[in-house]
Symmetry: C2
DNA sequence: TTTATATATACCCTTTAAGGAATATTCCAA
DNA sequence: TTGGAATATTCCTTAAAGGGTATATATAAA
């Protein structure tokens, strides 16, 4: 999977990773905290974090013994931009279609 | 996977499904058209469409022999809303943190 | 240097995903 | 009612995901 957007979407498509991301939204946390709060095993937590890391959704700030995971904002901005423009294009296509149909209708059955 | 958002994200996380969705953005199409344009086998196209259907990303409009797949707007609106509010919350948390740190700094080392 | 703590990795197992080929189903037309 | 076109489904195979347990690695403290 080389597509960046697909990778972002995939990383977020697992419920546990989604929970991790929602948790990190409230602030950076070390692995152990994340595992504890979400009742996940530490190894799985690390593995999920690795997926998020490879999708650039998080970054690591080493602090002594621990590794603090921070959310990155860029991928979310990218996701918002994509989804929003997608929506926009769908809607404007539909609007154009409606307009076209109205005009066609008026041509067949003119009101004045 | 019962979480609606996770299901949406998963459905979109496959590159072929992403292509299908991008194609359908330009307008509704029957299965055969989708398969032809994306050079996918018909069975796989049907299977991918099923995943999209179960995630409520598309709807079917039967037309004689064929089944026309339409994109639905709601899930994209939901995705945009989620991602946007997510972003928003991240940013506002960071802003609060900056403000706090500035105040703390001013208290230690007052300018006037 | 040893020890403890936090985290990452390896290995195993089970489940699920995705592609291909063949077949079933549906609906229209003749 | 038979045939053909469009689509869905089934079966098979391969690859990858996710969870569990054990172990390796790294860093700080004793």
């Amino acid at each position: 999977m080389s597509d960046g957007l697909a990778r972002t979407l995939f990383a977020l498509s697992d419920t546990n990773r989604l929970k991790i991301v929602e948790l990190l939204k409230t602030g950076p946390l070390p692995v152990g905290e994340i595992a504890a709060q979400l009742r996940l095993n530490q190894p799985q937590t690390s593995k999920h974090l690795k997926v998020l890391l490879e999708a650039d959704l998080v970054r690591i700030e080493p602090a002594a013994n621990r590794r603090i995971y921070h959310l990155r904002t860029e991928p979310f901005q990218g996701l918002t931009a994509w989804s929003q423009s997608f929506e926009q294009q769908m809607i404007s296509r539909m609007t154009r279609l409606e307009t076209y149909l109205e005009q066609k209708q008026n041509a067949v059955n003119p009101k004045e």
